[in-house]
């Protein structure tokens, strides 16, 4: 409910601004600035202030290839600690992501300032995990054991729809929803990682998340993009009606 509220606000911003822009641009083409974008994820550090057991930071650079397509490269770091009544767990690692971003807005709407689209990424994580202690209790009594430190490498795929809005000149904010599929957790199926950097719970084959970004834009080139004008269907209908009238008249 609350997440939806945040999404709706972002969409409204894009819609309101783009409607105004679209009305202001009667030309057949628009000038779109291509940009290098450097973004940082802000929710991870904010969460760390409230919960010192999880630190997750992420940043990315994307470079516009044209008005629709950008290449993406991201890197992140996470430090995860967890404990409950029957075990404790530590995980520290880095991840990299590479992929593309597709802007689904029309050029005359996006104007190089607004982005609403989808990102497709491949993620690779390397991490050190340890279970310093765990307890198992059954009929025969309690077994206290531990799992030593091990270094692992795993990978995943991510689909990431989202929104970016230029708030000030060359500064944008936005959010992305992440839908991830774990390809390989780097461990045997018995000891899947409780946390997987860049992915989430390594015990599950799918994970979801939401990220909030601040993005700094560096324009490096301007391109002229022709606007595809829609042919109004009403004209054909009118012509047909006129033809029918003239045939009937004859």
């Amino acid at each position: 409910m609350w997440k939806t509220y945040a999404y709706i606000i972002s969409f409204l911003i894009v819609l309101v601004n783009t409607q105004i822009r679209a009305q202001e641009q009667p030309d057949d083409s628009v000038i779109i600035p291509l940009k290098i974008k450097a973004g940082i994820e802000v929710s991870g550090p904010v969460i760390y202030f409230t919960d010192k057991n999880i630190l997750s930071t992420e940043g990315y650079i994307s470079v516009d290839l044209n008005e629709k397509l950008a290449v993406y490269a991201g890197v992140g770091y996470s430090d995860f600690k967890y404990s409950q009544y029957n075990y404790s767990y530590l995980n520290k690692g880095i991840f990299i992501k590479a992929g593309v971003d597709f802007n689904m807005l029309k050029p005359e709407i996006s104007m190089g300032k607004y982005w609403a689209g989808i990102g497709l990424r491949y993620g690779l994580s390397t991490f050190i995990a340890e279970t310093p202690s765990f307890w198992y209790k059954n009929y025969w009594g309690t077994v206290l054991s531990s799992l030593g430190t091990s270094t692992r490498l795993g990978h995943f795929l991510e689909v990431s729809p989202g929104v970016r809005v230029e708030l000030f000149r060359n500064f944008s904010i936005g959010w992305s929803v992440s839908l991830r599929r774990l390809i390989y957790s780097g461990t045997s199926k018995d000891l899947r990682p409780i946390y997987f950097p860049g992915y989430g719970s390594g015990a599950k084959p799918f994970s979801t998340g939401i990220s909030y970004f601040m993005v700094f834009n560096i324009p490096f080139k301007k391109i002229k993009v022709e606007i595809k004008k829609e042919i109004p269907e009403e004209t054909e209908e009118t012509t047909e009606t006129e033809d029918q009238i003239s045939i009937q008249g004859k």
């Binding site: 997440k3 945040a6 911003i13 307890w135 198992y136 009929y139 409780i194």
Partner: protein
């Protein structure tokens, strides 16, 4: 753009609340005990048939019975000791007592973040059993996990 700025505090509040709700740890609803599943068969007919009465407990654990003159047990679920490589059970079928010993290896298995770890086992040898009422014990599936799979057949 002016109108957008008025939404920022609301959006931040909504997001913070969403994060707090979504990060609340869940409860453990999964099965966490890997138990050896033993089915009872009549030796003469070879048919699946529960004993009329079953008493079962670990050797030297007679004060803590797993089954105590329980009727129509099918299958019986036996917990193995993850701290050792073998364990013995006293089994009393229809009032006649036998002793069974299992040899196995144990290894940790993550059930889930909410439940933590358990131990899975693998039978490494055929169980030994006295033959007062039990005729033989056959291994069906060596892997003892939280799945409901028949591991051994007890013919009596």
């Amino acid at each position: 753009m002016r109108s957008f700025k008025t939404y920022i505090p609301g959006a931040i509040f909504a997001w913070t609340l969403a994060v707090m709700v979504s990060c609340t740890p869940g409860s453990c609803f999964e099965k966490t005990d890997a138990l050896l599943t033993a089915s009872f068969y009549r030796n003469d007919a070879g048919k699946l048939q529960p004993p009329d009465s079953l008493t079962l407990f670990g050797l030297k654990m007679d004060t803590n019975k797993i089954y105590n003159k329980t009727l129509n047990v099918q299958p019986a679920l036996l917990p193995l000791n993850a701290d050792t490589t073998s364990c013995s059970f006293v089994i009393r079928i229809n009032g006649i007592t036998d002793t069974m010993t299992f040899w196995y290896s144990s290894y940790p298995h993550l059930v889930s973040m909410e439940c933590g770890y358990t131990f899975y086992h693998q039978l490494v040898d055929k169980p030994s059993v006295t033959d007062n009422i039990i005729d033989s014990v056959n291994i069906g599936n060596r892997n003892i996990t939280t799945l409901d799979v028949e591991n051994i057949r007890i013919y009596y």
